[in-house]
């Protein structure tokens, strides 16, 4: 169990990185509390697996350091870092039984057989594997195998952190939910730090206390699921999290206020003097039809169960909004009103007026 600190961490796969794009992972500083549940969320190729492999020790960073508590582990191999990892494709030792699979990490470390037996049975119980302990591991379904992979991490008492690399990729959809809840439940029972890599926002939000959103090798925002939803620091976060994602509309700036087609839009923040591309971000949840406001033309309505997703064309671009079942939807011309508290100005993608950001 340990607090994880990443200091000025950078990584490039090529030998002499010159340009910004050469870095698979751009410089980052992060502190992860002991016993927390974290998710690394981002699209494919954003550097999240690179970051995970740096933490587990399968990769050595080109620059910066990694600390577990106060010990520098940057150059330590994985076996000395005391971490456990669950991979995208389940790894089980085919010729062994489920029991022997779970016992394997302990036996490799020379733990007494009596203790091994106690730990294996405990972990099997936690992972619902007790009934299959005597079976060959190769005969289990994908979710069973992932439980074994996870179990091999849980049996060890010396584990600093458990890392998950998109562990639900090969799991059937109806079992994903079950396994996800299982992980959440396990986290409440074992005090380990858990880091979960995924490109699926639902997985990230249901699993983690704090989500680290990444894009093209860079950490864009770290926050609780609520923070990410309510106050995205970057249009990418707004877009990536939420379904449908945040509306991003082009706007003009005058004295720090935003205007679309001459209409002033009330916003929660003010833009600074920065001369960048200005945009307005507002989630579909905070847009509604009104007698006044921005002019728009409804172009598409799709039914999404309790809500309808309405798409409307405006001078600022396409706007999506949610209308509750049975709510009136104008047939063509309409006016839209944004909730000022949830409407924000972004400059070059970043939330305007935030300290430390351009």
């Amino acid at each position: 169990m340990a607090r994880i600190t990443l200091k000025n961490l950078k990584h490039a796969y090529m030998r002499n990185p010159q340009r910004d794009e050469d870095w698979a992972l751009k410089e980052l500083n992060l502190d992860w509390d002991d016993g927390g549940a974290y998710a690394l969320l981002g699209p494919s190729g954003c550097g999240k697996t690179t970051l995970l492999n740096l933490i587990s020790g399968l990769l050595t960073p080109s620059h910066g350091s990694i600390l577990f508590d106060d010990q520098d582990v940057t150059r330590l191999p994985p076996e000395q870092r005391k971490i456990a990892q669950v991979f995208q494709f389940p790894v089980v030792y085919d010729t062994m039984t489920v029991y022997d699979n779970l016992a394997f990490p302990l036996r490799n470390r020379g733990v007494a057989e009596l203790t091994v037996d106690k730990r294996v049975r405990e972990v099997a119980e936690m992972n619902d594997l007790t009934a299959t302990l005597g079976n060959r591991a190769s005969g289990l379904t994908a979710d069973g195998k992932q439980k074994i992979s996870l179990g091999r991490g849980l049996v060890r008492t010396d584990v600093n952190a458990i890392l998950f690399d998109e562990p639900l990729t090969v799991i059937d959809p109806h079992l994903k939910f079950q396994l996800r809840s299982k992980l959440k439940e396990l986290h409440t029972r074992v005090p380990n730090t858990m880091i979960y890599v995924t490109h699926d926002q639902t997985e990230a939000i249901t699993f983690a206390d704090k989500v680290v959103v990444m894009n093209v090798g860079e950490v864009v925002q770290v926050g609780t699921p609520k923070e990410l939803f309510e106050e995205p620091h970057h249009t990418f976060v707004g877009h990536f999290i939420g379904s449908p994602g945040m509306n991003v509309l082009s706007c003009d700036l005058k004295d720090g206020h935003a205007y679309i087609d001459g209409n002033r839009i009330a916003t929660a923040n003010r833009a600074g003097a920065g001369a960048g591309k200005s945009e307005i971000g507002v989630r579909p949840e905070f847009v509604k039809f009104a007698g006044h406001g921005l002019e728009a033309r409804v172009v598409k309505v799709s039914d999404a169960g309790r809500f309808s997703v309405v798409e409307a064309d405006s001078a600022g671009g396409l706007i999506r909004l949610l209308v509750e079942e049975g709510g009136a939807i104008p047939s063509e011309a309409a006016r839209l009103e944004f909730d000022p508290a949830a409407t924000r100005i972004y400059t070059d993608g970043w939330l305007a007026g935030r300290a430390g950001q351009p």
Partner: protein
């Protein structure tokens, strides 16, 4: 659902049936035909029943040849399979050396079999061959044309040189198909190199090794060209393997009946052993 019965489908398998018939069934039946008859000149045949089979099975000559054959096959399997696995494990998995290694490994397999025999025949000559001359110079009394022990040594060395590559290539194919995640997981689990071999590499190589053992078993049991060029079965009968003996009976003595009976017994022995190997090595896979 009702299945449509369409007899025309038979026409699609007809070409293969014809091919197999002329390739395997007809020649095999000819041999069966010979094995139950006595032949004289001018194509005169008499019914002999199972007499040839009894004669072969009781003959010490056959027993000796079978014994030598089993010794040969057992020895080369015991050397080539572990050696092949060791070489495959030592080969690089990535980088420019991979192709170099693969080409070097494939080389012995590309040489015509009688050339292999001729090469080793010259290589081992005590007065001028590199191997023979060197061994004699450093004090070994080595002469494969006179001493049975030396003949066996050369024969086995030749087969190991010629065929270990096949095991290497098959084992290597098995090794490179193991995803990296297995090695990463094993490192995290604190597994030793032996544990990685025992629980990851060996199980993943099992299928290809089964094929390697079966191929090497059948090929070495059928081996004719190389030993016949190298030693011709000598000195005396000391390296007369089953196939060499068979050719002596069939073409040297023109005893078609006994030769046919021996062929069939030979065939059944190979079939039996292959079945045993296959059953033992794939046992437990279906659990």
């Amino acid at each position: 659902m009702n299945k449509t019965v369409n007899q025309k489908a038979w026409f699609f398998v007809l070409p293969v049936l014809i091919l197999v018939a002329f390739n395997a069934i007809v020649p095999l039946m000819t041999v069966v035909n010979y094995s139950v008859q006595e032949t004289f000149g001018d194509n005169v045949f008499f019914w002999a029943g199972l007499r040839w089979f009894e004669e072969i099975l009781r003959s010490p000559r056959f027993h000796d040849a079978l014994g030598r054959q089993l010794f040969f096959t057992g020895t080369i399997l015991a050397i080539e399979v572990p050696l092949g696995v060791i070489i495959a494990l030592a080969m690089p998995r990535k980088g420019p050396w991979v192709s170099v290694c693969l080409v070097l490994m494939a080389m012995p397999l590309l040489i015509p079999w009688n050339v292999v025999g001729a090469m080793w025949n010259i290589f081992g000559l005590p007065e001028l061959g590199l191997l023979g001359k060197t061994l004699n110079t450093i004090g070994f009394d080595y002469n494969y044309t006179r001493q049975p022990g030396d003949a066996w040594f050369t024969l086995i060395l030749m087969d190991v040189w010629h065929w270990t590559s096949l095991v290497v290539l098959l084992a290597y194919a098995g090794l490179v198909s193991i995803p990296d995640a297995y090695y990463q997981a094993a490192r995290i689990d604190g597994a030793s190199s032996w544990a990685i071999f025992r629980y990851i590499q060996l199980p993943k190589m099992k299928r290809v090794l089964t094929i390697a053992v079966l191929l090497r078993f059948m090929d070495s049991f059928n081996i004719y060209t190389e030993p016949s060029v190298l030693t011709g079965g000598g000195p005396g009968n000391s390296t007369t393997l089953l196939s060499i003996d068979l050719v002596k009976i069939a073409l040297g003595q023109f005893d078609l009946g006994p030769a046919a009976a021996m062929s069939l017994i030979y065939f059944l022995v190979i079939l039996l052993f292959s079945w045993i190997f296959y059953t033992v090595m794939t046992r437990g896979e279906e659990q």
